[in-house]
Symmetry: C2
Subunit: 331 residues, 2 copies
């Protein structure tokens, strides 16, 4: 029994149960970021997320793109809480074969590009010799205590569930890169670009998190997982009446006879925000996101029944809390 490999979420629970909790944290353990009180009504917001070549860098992705992605993964969590990233630390583990001037320069340029794209600076780091390429990023930003980061736990019954973009391109692109799937040249280009050049919804997150969303999470572990987390932490359920399907994902699903719902719900590596908005704030929320060039797509509603369900062909089917999980998931 003790030799059964655990899933990522179980591992996090075991770790958390062994830690002495810091008193008065601004954001509880288990949200997208960590945050603590500073003097003078400020809060420090912190996040760490590690990119590992074997699981996070698909074939054909350049070192520049991998390093940039390591930053984007972290910025996406800041975006979901409405926090501006200020500074980046990068701990880079390099296998010997990558300890060359060209490779190191490319990684550094990717780190810098990723940070600058979102207004942050890389201010320090560490390098080590590892068996595989590892880029462990830490992000730092500040928040005012009166304007706390938006938590996962604030959704109320009746709130509108919404996303900042359409889903399915990244997971389709990943399958194309890893498996025996087909796609026309133009489609392939779009799908693979979604994998190689992910974008964090920072502008949308900053626009939304000034008070008009009740809960927020990023979707990097998959749409179903993110919605389930909002439900679990808020003590509500969700009824989805519309799936945010990217047209290219639909095309890919048709061409390869794949289940489109599965592709959109249980993918992962997508960096949209999943938020809830009280109906009275909906028009304002849409306008705020529109003003920064984004969009806010309603996909369902929070319910008092604590289940996540999807209206499919006129019937309600359960959505399970499954998503990308290290140690368990395989594309």
């Amino acid at each position: 029994m003790s030799n059964t490999p655990l899933g990522e979420h179980e591992i996090i629970q075991i770790i958390q149960s062994r830690l002495t909790p810091m008193p008065d944290m601004l954001v509880p353990f288990g949200d997208d970021v960590s945050a603590i009180n500073l003097e003078g009504k400020q809060g420090a917001v912190l996040k760490t997320d590690m990119l590992v070549r074997k699981t996070d860098v698909p074939q054909g992705m350049s070192l520049f793109a991998a390093a940039r992605k390591a930053i984007v993964m972290n910025v996406s969590d800041f975006a979901s809480k409405g926090v501006v990233p200020t500074a980046v630390l990068a701990a880079v583990g390099l296998p010997k074969a990558l300890a060359t001037k060209e490779a190191v320069a490319e990684i550094a340029e990717g780190l810098n590009a990723g940070a600058r794209e979102y207004g942050a600076y890389v201010i320090g780091g560490d390098t080590n010799e590892t068996e595989d390429l590892i880029i462990s990023i830490s992000l730092f930003g500040t928040t005012s205590v009166s304007n706390r980061p938006v938590l996962r736990s604030g959704a109320g019954v009746g709130d509108i569930l919404a996303v900042t973009g359409l889903f399915g391109k990244s997971v389709a692109g990943l399958r194309l890169l890893l498996g025996n799937y087909k796609a026309s040249e133009g489609l392939r280009e779009v799908l693979v670009d979604a994998v190689y050049n992910p974008r964090a919804r920072l502008r949308e997150g900053l626009a939304l998190c000034g008070g008009c969303v009740s809960a927020s999470i990023d979707s990097s572990d998959g749409l179903a997982w993110s919605i389930s987390e909002l439900a679990r932490q808020s003590g509500v359920g969700f009824l989805l009446d519309c799936l945010p399907v990217a047209g290219e994902a639909e095309e890919f699903a048709v061409q390869n006879e794949l289940d489109l719902v599965d592709l959109v719900l249980y993918g992962g590596e997508e960096y949209e925000l999943v938020v809830t908005v009280a109906p009275s704030r909906w028009v304002e929320a849409q306008a705020l996101v529109g003003a920064v060039g984004g969009c806010l797509i309603p996909i369902g509603k929070a319910t008092s029944i604590q289940q996540v369900r999807l209206v499919l062909g006129g019937r309600e089917v359960p959505v399970v809390a499954r998503g990308w999980e290290h140690f368990k998931s395989r594309v």
Copy 2:
């Protein structure tokens, strides 16, 4: 040419040269920590350092001790700047074989113990699947802008060079664990304990860095390297008239016919502080360290000749800027 593996210091230089510098940093790139200005005369201090099993966790070291060490490595850098660590993030990369409840719990307990030992809390993290155990720690703390972290670059000619403890036990212990060396049972125990249970000199660092040291660095890359860094960044040299040799290291060197000077200067994985103190502050500095139960051992003086030299057998011999360096060093 492009395929020659680089050393860690060259890699850091290449990375740094590709980064857009953040304006107005409190601590320049290339010191023990990074620090930036916050509102209200506060500064945020950040540090990341990655522990990799293959290079940082010798045989026989428990997962608890490895996780604790990952924290100590980072706290030591805060100690050298006189900054209190407040919060820890831990990104943990686990090979499948360690994704068990027992192993994960032991790692979490080591992280918690390391953090609490120095007054900090683990407030968040990330887990990933990796080929080897990796624990990438980020440390956060604050400082007041009027009481900036002590830099590596402040040593002045005539300043006393001093250390907070004796050297050589860790490197001797490491050799014992890795190679074909001998030591009596009692000696072995002391030396191996130095490897398994390193301690950061936080109390000493906090006592010293209130204004009475002119420059400071930790010694995790080795004594010679640390002194050379103080010299390079301060634009001075040092003449060492006394080596801070631990009795146990001397015993080990004699028993194994090893060069003691080499062991003490070019070891590494020791977490003493190496500081410079103006002669007028020396008595105060010693008293402050003594008051927290530590000691401050003078080992030389800063010189205008920009070289590091050691008085050995009545002659001055050069000390080279060599130390533990990933990609290059082998025990």
